[in-house]
Subunit: 224 residues, 4 copies
């Protein structure tokens, strides 16, 4: 009496499929979407289930609790990023650092510029108060490595005389900050009527400003 028999064709399909291998990722993807849209606390497990196309109980076959879901979400995101950052850092050739830095930031931008990729860091930022452990994990596994690679490259630039004498940690922040800002912006403040931001363009200009501004200056101009 409650079932609608809209498409008799579908009656041959089973009500559900066994997918023990695919489920965890399927659930995590759904959770990511729901958590992003509503925040962790406000999100209901029912919504996650619905988004994943399964029943509420099934989630608990794969994750012990809502918290575990959140933790797994972040852990899952951390691993590949950390790995990739390490690869990039290891492959940096000798020679001028400017093109390397340009490549690094461009790569990061092409990555975090996508809504899905930035969802996890945004969750980390939003829920850091509730999940300090995960914030720490993300920091150590992702940020420290990424920011560390950039800071190291800047140091090398300074040593080579390519850049003037700068605080490399601060310079690294100056360099990547627009990327973080863009991430926050797109997830928080962007309005539908806004003129869209072309991230590659913005990053290119930012690099242009930054790299020029950072390079060695024989006689510093006065009075900026």
């Amino acid at each position: 009496m409650t079932k609608r028999a809209v498409k008799p064709i579908d009656q041959t399909k089973p009500r559900w499929q066994r997918q023990p291998d695919a489920r965890p990722d399927q659930i995590l993807d759904a959770a990511l979407g729901v958590f992003r849209a509503q925040g962790f606390s406000a999100a209901r497990m029912d919504d996650v289930a619905k988004a994943a196309g399964i029943s509420k109980g099934t989630i608990y076959l794969y994750f012990n609790s809502k918290q575990t879901l959140m933790e797994s979400l972040i852990t899952r995101a951390v691993a590949p990023i950390a790995q990739h950052l390490n690869v990039i850092a290891a492959q940096a050739p000798d020679g001028p650092v400017t093109p390397v830095l340009r490549a690094m930031l461009t790569f990061a931008a092409s990555n975090l510029g996508q809504a899905k990729a930035s969802a996890v860091p945004m969750l980390v930022i939003s829920e850091a108060g509730r999940f300090p452990e995960l914030a720490r994990l993300y920091r150590q596994q992702v940020i420290d490595i990424g920011l560390g690679a950039i800071t190291g490259m800047i140091k090398r630039g300074i040593n080579r005389g390519e850049f003037r004498k700068l605080n490399p940690a601060y310079a690294a922040r100056s360099m990547i900050a627009p990327l973080l800002m863009h991430m926050v912006w797109m997830n928080t403040f962007v309005l539908s009527e806004d003129e869209p931001i072309d991230l590659p363009d913005m990053i290119e200009q930012h690099l242009d400003i930054f790299l020029h501004g950072a390079k060695f200056r024989a006689q510093p101009e006065v009075s900026l």
Copy 2:
């Protein structure tokens, strides 16, 4: 949401109207602290009451709901900032924009560098999914004005030939991004064992890089 008891507060006024006496501010201060520490959803009205040193029921004499509390919190923060930014923008003198921009960013940094001042924007960022209206309000009342002032100043610099031809909106982002990043950092990723960041120092170096990198270049160097 379905029931709303009649409250002595004048319903025709906006809900975030400041009450004449000190209670509302006392409550909002408490709420800010609790919301920051636990997130909006996880925070309990009991905790807010305890932090304010009053009973739970008393909160409802001044605010209709938990949501209203959040809304009032952000609205209360918006007004003075917007006002102040307007004043600064209006007072900008003619002449070189570089010192003006320097002053603007330095001022903003000295402000948002404090934990309490950054609490509200962090809340907005964290709860944007749940309170898009408030994110919009904050954007329009604070960000658009602040970012607008900076963008305008950069435009003027371009027109004066002080800066080279840049996309001013992007340049403004390049300029203020480290400030936002610092805010996020301090509220999310900072660890107790970190070497502390000296915000004024960082901003000074950032301005040095940025303003040099942005200024007019007779013959652009090739291939950075």
Copy 3:
């Protein structure tokens, strides 16, 4: 639209009364009734609340959990019994133990014979698997003291030559067992069509058998 206005007279009564002092006992009484009828696990907090004439949430103002409710129930029952048993034991006069034992069992019977008084021990028996701690508490606070007093009295009877040489612990069990059995019986196996058992009569006869059977025999008859 949902409210029935059956008796306009009652409209003057408040929907609920503040009774912070009376609540805990009120709730425990209700819980006892519900647990007895349905068993602990099968009982729903809703039912307890309904039986207590309050809302479900109110229970949690006074008890942390369903388990706590159970624990409090037993703890509440233990205290007065233990106390009373101690008093009786202390007041036992010197001289023949037979009348003392008779008084003790008669008292216990008049007490545990009532359905309400036996509800807690029956709960303990039923839920011992789930709450071994509570069974231990009941054992030590009630049984050990009560059984101990009887055992001691029997020992005295043996020493005085009033009883023959018996294992006092076993004899004590022989003596009180019908009481326990009656308790179990009334809560488990009694049928409406049964001829009712007159507990005082039964106990009297039991005492008659037991005390005669236990008393000193000059020359034990053979071959029973």
Copy 4:
């Protein structure tokens, strides 16, 4: 309870009918162990399955529900006991009843003294509130017959002048109560540090007391 799928089991037979092969007994044995340890409600079908070394779904090939499992458990236990009691009662020879009663109680003790044999009656006692039907079944098929046999024998003893004039129903209770008490004790209140109770010894002493106490007395002693 609302839905019941068609099962290959013949629905016309009583639900507790023993299956031809070994599976049902295997499951019931497992269920008995789990129910005893955790109580009926707290026990999970998963645990029963694990204890039986099969999967959860398999249980439902043999039993329609958790309730049915419980029912079958008790029903299975009832049949052989009732049968055996009947045999004993039928074989009682003429002549003095005292040795017959002694034999009956000793037999019962040697039986119920074992943990496994007492598991079912303990379950009945614990879950009587939830399964009054089964309590009634147990009462009628086991207790009424067993207790009836003893009561009858006592009556005969009275008629023969072996015992004095007693209420036979009460006397039967006086006689068997320590056995029930021992069962409850071992399943509920026994502590590891207790001096162990030697059931045969206790029963022997109890019989000694009881049978002496019950026998005919020419001139009743005064003032017990």
